[in-house]
Symmetry: C2
Subunit: 427 residues, 2 copies
């Protein structure tokens, strides 16, 4: 039995509290797995006096003090891509301490530099908890699906968005109504922008992309669109065509570079991603010749996220020597983004139009001029002069062609609101 | 960069050939991940002269010679729970060599003893390829879902059975017809007993059970039933009730011990396991407070299985120190089996009866005497004196009560063939 692994935890929210509790409750079990005790030697949080339902010792209010303590590992659960979190991780590594973090924003922005710092000092920097909560997708891409080149990763990575879309489908309520309800239930933040705008998914996708393709995480080479403009009508029409709408992070290898985007997408109702419901997460990995693999489960919350942190701690206790992103950080190349036009897909288009003679001809004319051809169409409502929905599915088309057509259509005085376009995912 | 990892491969079938090819094709990539070269220093196969489409050097026909070579790792791909495979693994470990194996039969029978031997000599014995092909379920249970006690593991672990059931559903053909076709296509062995009889699933389940519950693998404490008696009618009726039939391996913690069984089961049509189609595999892990997690993908074939072997080799190259079953082998307790009666479930029952007055009353009488109550019933066909099917779904009932009732019913001269009973899985 080796010497105990001394752990300092910065941030005692849901996840930090969960880690403290499970280390205490499962001490013997984890000792057997790690070959040594895992002990908490210090914690930090903003409010020292808050009642937490568990004992903590060596409490400090300055997290940076933990980077100067006698801990072997610092667990960073503060969040944010700069400020205290960044300073803490850098100082901990500089002081020879391993780091476990759930901070996707920090790693999406500074991942390569922090990984290089860790590896230079022969330290571990682990982040299973940063992506998809309890699903071990970081470890799987870093250590398991490595023999054949991964071609694509597609994930439902934000539980708040997936909860909102699932509830909109179940209740027929609008985005705004369901968001308000989710906020009341604590499933969405008071400021929901990072979740519903796709930014959180983007952070996570940048990390998966790095692991899958051996490049430095790169947020700049990514188009990001949220779910705020999705209407109950879109969800309803999707279902008529045999699809469901999900906010996906998609990263794929193309001949001209890596295509990374976050957007609402139509996925076939029987596909695995379509059946990820509520606050769950799911990730589909196209592992090249080894085939597609799918992983799903709880992507947030106390126990799933603490489970990921504890797995990383046990691995550090056993003396793991894995490079942070699977390959040495110095060898992580710059991500070469695929041209925005590289990806072809069929598109779902919805127009809210005034039901006047000639409106369909006008829309069809714009589409045809831009080379967009239509596979199927639904028109609902018949009420001369009143607004009705026209919905179309295109054949495979470049995004730019569809955007060009929609620009023309949006300018028509028979079209009531901004046309909606959603790509259909092949799987 | 460390010294090369010297690898000897025993068995050059589909998987062994795949490993040789991918180590050659992905050399630079794997070197970056492993921090050293992975080189093949010896191979063995029965037929030295067979054309294989790749170069091998240091070919021997006696696999045991590999255990006495200068290899650091022996990859055992011979198979079988005794004989050469066992001798090779024991000798390799005794001679200080790490072992990677795809041999579920060997580990299900001798796993604890071999793990103890490996750990005593500070060697790795890795077996990701033994269960579910390319799905990293061994690593996930061994290293990731460890913070909260796993409550249950349920898996579709045999691609041949899943292919046959999927084809029976799609075509309406009988088990015998689809099996013959699968044999012609190379999806089923000439002697299919180990697959269709459930034995292969049992081997894999014993390993998952050991990883999940910290016990020695134990095949003896397992009931095993195959898919030979499933008819197209059963599959059809399942679908009418909103279910699909899958061969599952199920291991769960109960208050009175661990319940392990392999059997065809009804799973809800929308559940993740129900949507594992064709030759794919899928595993659902109930990770206690961390929630349920689901994993699916290709469970056999060259690339998925070679992918698992190569991941194990890279981990050995990096100097991994993980106990074989996640906890030290000396601490793996004996599996305390739950009494066969412990598990309650609803049951699907099918009777082939002569359509004569009183037959339903007779069946209902036997069920009622054994305390089995019926939730719903379908009777198809009306042709006095001819055979018809009666199908029932019971309320939650102990297996023994259903078996008692069916014994009485089978004895009736109005009942034409052995009644069929299939449990309905909750998830």
């Amino acid at each position: 039995m080796g010497a105990p692994l001394k752990i300092a935890i910065a941030g005692l929210g849901t996840v930090g509290g969960g880690v403290v509790k499970v280390l205490a409750a499962q001490g013997a079990e984890l000792r057997a797995r790690a070959g040594r005790d895992l002990i908490v030697v210090g914690v930090s949080a903003r409010d020292a006096k808050k009642a937490r339902g568990f004992q903590v010792e060596n409490f400090v209010t300055d997290p940076l003090a933990l980077a100067n303590s006698d801990a072997d590992v610092v667990v960073e659960l503060i969040g944010g891509d700069e400020g205290v979190a960044r300073k803490l991780v850098e100082t901990a590594l500089a002081n020879g301490k391993h780091v476990v973090t759930a901070n996707k924003a920090l790693l999406a922005k500074h991942g390569k530099q922090l990984a290089a710092l860790a590896e230079q000092k022969n330290l571990q920097l682990k982040f299973e908890a940063a992506v998809a909560g309890g699903i071990p997708i970081v470890k799987t891409l870093r250590e398991s699906l490595i023999a054949y080149e991964v071609q694509a990763v597609k994930g439902i990575l934000n539980g708040t968005c997936n909860y909102i879309l699932t509830e909109m489908e179940a209740s027929g309520a609008s985005f705004a109504e369901v968001l308000k309800e989710a906020q009341a239930l604590g499933y969405a933040e008071a400021d929901p922008t990072l979740d519903v705008g796709g930014g959180d998914t983007a952070h996570k996708l940048a990390l998966l992309s790095s692991l899958a393709f051996g490049v430095a995480p790169d947020l700049s080479a990514m188009t990001v669109e949220g779910i705020q403009h999705i209407t109950p009508a879109d969800i309803h029409f999707a279902s008529e065509f045999g699809f469901r709408i999900k906010l996906l992070g998609v990263a794929r290898r193309t001949p001209s570079g890596i295509d990374q985007k976050v957007h609402p997408a139509m996925v076939r109702a029987r596909s695995p991603l379509a059946n990820v419901d509520g606050a769950a997460n799911g990730v589909l990995v196209d592992a090249g010749r080894a085939g597609p693999f799918f992983f799903s489960g709880r992507g947030a919350g106390e126990a799933p996220t603490a489970s990921a942190v504890v797995a990383d701690l046990v691995e550090i206790a056993r003396g793991s020597h894995t490079p942070v992103f699977g390959r040495p950080a110095t060898g992580l190349g710059a991500l070469k983004p695929a041209p925005a036009d590289a990806a072809l897909s069929p598109w779902y288009l919805r127009f809210e139009v005034l039901d006047l003679p000639g409106v369909l001809a006008e829309i069809a004319g714009h589409l045809s001029q831009s080379g967009v051809s239509i596979e199927s169409m639904i028109q609902r409502g018949r009420d001369l002069g009143a607004p009705v929905a026209i919905v179309m599915i295109t054949h495979e088309t470049q995004q730019s062609a569809v955007e060009r057509a929609l620009k023309g259509i949006a300018a028509s005085d028979k079209v009531r609101s901004r046309p909606c376009m959603i790509p259909m995912e092949a799987a």
